[in-house]
């Protein structure tokens, strides 16, 4: 869209940034774009196919990107929450990133195959979005589209699981996690998984076996989701990256809902918000404690 392209061109020509991370049209659909020259700014697009969370590219471990210099990043409201999280946890300095926020009315679940935003095609994470008008930005662009349709597939799935017995739930996750091959693509794609040394890679002692066995897979996914509690922005990059199509987003959503319900906390766009487990309330729920 022209507004975004013009802004990118300006930021690059006047040297404000060295690279604009946004979306472009690739051979297989919309994909992340790294615009380093003003004349390339025309490649930038923004539409309902722009599902990726580009905040993940701000991870300081990605040296091939940090080497490029000062960065501008195109974000939707949900992605801006991830940027806020990275600033909150000192991975990114607010002054080192120019945030180009796009007003958004929802994105597709399968951007490769679908073309219209309907209750079946919209991403499950768009339901109930409160960030259509992003609050964290240096520049805010675009017209505000109408509210996205609501895709209840995931809430239905979670509700169905809640109705099962413990043994049925155990078997469900054993089945789903039996496909996990411990490739850790979920971790690499996640903007909030930025640890230099992941808990799964500690070897002295080895808390989590690296092999793709039922017990190790369960330990790995449980710990990853717990480490995301209150930090995950539900961008579903983990689920999109998983080559085995494990419904990781369901676990993340469940824990995010638990954190919200118990502590009235949602990872928001304000970097000065405290981390959920760095604070507490004297009146936190303790109904589960004997």
């Amino acid at each position: 869209m022209k507004q975004l392209q013009d802004l990118a061109r300006k930021l690059l020509s006047d040297g404000t940034v060295n690279v604009v991370i946004g979306y472009e049209s690739g051979p297989r659909g919309i994909r992340p774009a790294f615009i380093t020259a003003p004349e390339q700014a025309d490649k930038l697009v923004f539409n309902i196919h722009c599902v990726q969370n580009l905040a993940t590219y701000l991870n300081p471990r990605r040296k091939q990107i940090t080497q490029l210099g000062k960065v501008a990043v195109v974000v939707k409201g949900c992605d801006a929450r991830a940027v806020a999280g990275m600033i909150r946890e000192k991975q990114v300095e607010r002054g080192n990133v120019v945030i180009l926020a796009m007003r958004c009315g929802g994105v597709l679940e399968n951007s490769g195959t679908d073309t219209d935003l309907t209750a079946d095609t919209v991403s499950v994470r768009c339901a109930g979005c409160t960030d259509r008008e992003p609050k964290l930005f240096d520049h805010i662009l675009g017209e505000l589209p109408p509210e996205p349709p609501v895709n209840t597939r995931r809430t239905d799935q979670i509700a169905a699981l809640e109705k099962m017995t413990a043994a049925e739930r155990w078997n469900y996750w054993t089945d789903q996690l039996s496909r996990c091959i411990r490739c850790h693509a979920c971790r690499e794609a996640c903007p909030m998984c930025f640890c230099v040394k992941c808990t799964a890679e500690k070897t002295q002692p080895q808390w989590i076996d690296p092999s793709a066995t039922p017990r190790a897979n369960r330990a790995w996914q449980t710990m990853r989701v717990l480490h995301q509690a209150g930090r995950c922005v539900d961008c579903l990059e983990c689920e999109r990256a998983c080559p085995e199509h494990i419904p990781l987003g369901m676990l993340a959503r469940y824990v995010a809902d638990a954190v919200e319900k118990r502590f009235d906390y949602v990872a928001c766009e304000d970097p000065s918000q405290a981390a959920p487990f760095g604070v507490f309330s004297p009146s936190d729920d303790e109904e589960f404690i004997r």
Binding site: T165, N171, T174, I208, A219, T222, P282, F288
Partner: protein, 153 residues
């Protein structure tokens, strides 16, 4: 397995329960239970930590991995923490762990969270005996394969 074999295995089985307790309150309370000669099931193995907030959820997962059928996590009552705020942080963490374990199919009765103070020898006895009884009812943890009676998916 035939039900006869299950019965035989279950009757000769005694649960293994791992307890992660804080040094200042619960461990002292457990000690009091012992010196008071309170009768407790012998199934609980105690691991002493400086504070309940030292408990990493990984410990609980690892306990089940390595053969525990049940887990107890216990510390000081809120407001009494030797390190002032440790158990407040721990409470938040345990809450989410409790919810996630439930969602992933670990029966709630297998993991007991408790606050036991240094003077609550009786409460420790209660926590130990009731946890052991609840875990006995549930049966062995059974490892990480599929559960019997798990029903259609």
């Amino acid at each position: 397995m035939s039900s006869k074999v299950v019965e035989e295995t279950v009757s000769s089985w005694s649960p293994k329960v791992l307890a992660f307790v804080c040094n200042w309150c619960t461990y002292t309370g457990a000690d009091l239970a012992g010196t008071s000669r309170l009768k407790m099931d012998p199934n609980v193995r105690v691991i002493k930590l400086p504070c309940s907030s030292r408990v990493n959820p990984l410990f609980i997962i690892k306990a089940f991995e390595r053969g525990a059928d049940g887990v107890i996590v216990s510390g000081c009552h809120t407001g009494d923490c030797h390190y002032s705020t440790g158990n407040f942080h721990a409470r938040r963490r345990f809450a989410i762990l409790h919810d996630l374990l439930h969602f992933m199919g670990v029966e709630a009765d297998r993991v007991t969270f408790a606050w036991v103070s240094a003077s609550e020898g009786n409460k420790w006895q209660q926590v130990v005996n009731e946890t052991t009884e609840r875990v006995k009812q549930l049966g062995p943890f059974g490892g990480f394969g599929k559960r019997e009676g798990g029903g259609p998916q």
